[in-house]
């Protein structure tokens, strides 16, 4: 009887261990995470902290998200690569993976860099995404290039979008932390 009681205790102990062993990260997740170690070639989206607190949205191009008036209205995802500023207009809320074409052919922004009072002007030109069936006047991607952009890692920019969902809206960009008035 004593032996059987001992056997029951041991079996229960093994079962407990087995249950705890099940609470391990799956090999698949480890395989997925290991993909992050490849230089630049990981195939999941960047999650960027949108603003000061709380909600996160995915910036699909690795840039920073800037709310157009409000977060739910839409975003301008901005990225700077060497001397080029890239800007994608995307959806609001969690729809940051969906392009939002606008009617503007170009957008003029005023840029202030950290530690400087100098205001530079840059024109972002519409570059339609052909594979997304965009055209000038129905375009979600804009690009602006200037030699003085090289080496800039922090800046603030303001401008106006004439036709975002049919309305004229202010454009505020805070790079790299993003702009979220909510």
């Amino acid at each position: 009887m004593k032996t059987y009681r001992l056997l029951v205790y041991i079996t229960n102990g093994f079962l407990m261990l087995f249950w705890l062993a099940g609470c391990q990260p799956s090999k698949m997740k480890i395989a997925e995470d290991s993909q992050c170690k490849e230089e630049h070639a990981h195939s999941h989206e960047h999650g960027h902290h949108h603003g000061k607190e709380g909600h996160e949205h995915n910036a699909h191009h690795g840039g920073c998200l800037n709310a157009i008036v409000t977060c739910e209205n839409g975003h301008a995802e901005v990225k700077i690569t060497e001397d080029i500023i890239q800007c994608w207009f995307v959806g609001g809320g969690s729809d940051t993976g969906k392009a939002t074409p606008i009617g503007d052919k170009s957008i003029t922004i005023s840029i202030t860099t950290a530690g400087s009072t100098l205001i530079n002007t840059l024109v972002l030109q519409a570059k339609p995404l052909v594979l997304a069936e965009e055209t000038i006047g129905h375009c979600s991607y804009f690009e602006g290039k200037a030699p003085w952009l090289k080496g800039i890692t922090t800046f603030t920019a303001t401008g106006t979008v004439q036709s975002f969902r049919g309305k004229t809206v202010p454009l505020v960009i805070e790079f790299p932390k993003g702009y979220d008035p909510d």
């Binding site: 062993a21 395989a31 993976g97």
Partner: protein, 392 residues
Amino acid sequence: MSLGAALLVAVVSLREQAHRNFIQEGLGVDAVLGPKGSPLQIILNALYHLDEMPGKIKWTYYEAVLKDPIVEEGIPFITGHSYGGFRVNAIAERFFTDFEYVPGKHFSLDPRSGGQGRLFAARDEAVVGWAAARALKLRLGDSFNPVCGVHSGDPVHEHDQIQFVGIIAPTGTPHDRAIYIPLKTFFTLEGHGNEVAVMATDPAQREISGAYLKIKRIRGGALHPDIQNLKYTINQSSKAQCVIPNEVLPQLFGIIGWADRVLFAMALLVSLLSVAFLFTSLVNALRERRRDLALIRSLGANRCIVFGLIITESLVITAFSAIIGLVFGHVLVGLGAHYVDIETGLRFSAFYFSPLDYLLLPVMLLLGLLTAIIPGIQAYRLGVLKNLTQIS
């Protein structure tokens, strides 16, 4: 114990090989350009010849994608036909010369690799994967009429006789289970109607099921990082989508992964219960043999030797169980691999050794040692005089 060990070995081996087969770098495909619809459905159809493509894409759109700077190459294909239960896919010829089904490996028709014949060169010629040829008992020169559909009862192209001119050497991939015809043959099959026939000569009208895309590499062989931009851009289109296999397949494993976790848990439970039964049998055996052990003690063996006898007995049992379980587990994998190969074309090997195979013997010996400690201590504390008392 052997059964538990065999189940563990088989489950882990099958799980790891399945993972490797499904994930092996997306079966040579960096991305699939397909119609709007379920990404998983597109991958299952394009790579595994299962399910159906949810639509078609325009040839002109495919050509526009090829112009993207990061796209190195595209191989268009059309699915939707079958023969004898195997999919008949129309595909560009360079699929057999340029496409690497795993990095560094191309399809082969070389007899030294197990292939036969040659690539198709005419409208009414086909090549077949090794597994499909074996299942259908096909030989070079045999001919068939493709079925317009993938379900039983679908109409047959009765006036289109296509001859097998090549059998592809085994690749261990689902491509072994497919039959391939020239891309333009699809448009000229009788019964498709004029709107399909005109696609053979007019690219503006042409539609395909999809295309395998090869993306340029950067240093270190990594995929070009702009693949995500390409995917984003194409997915904004109303006409097509870009699916990356290595993103979709882990989701598939996430859905079905619970099944192998349950199997693994059951195998682990059987093993642990068998250890518990070993403990019980050692304790019972000790009770039955206490007189014998007392006799051994009286003949000069000290307590440590008696303790060692119990430990050794347990270790021998677990060692034999581990070895038998290891062998039996691989036999189970071999038996299962045969049926998986028939059904999916994916090859599993009975000679695949997972890390568990190397750990099995040491772990089971350790468990045997731990199991034998309590009976060993009981044997150690056995009273000689008390147990030598005559039983009347």
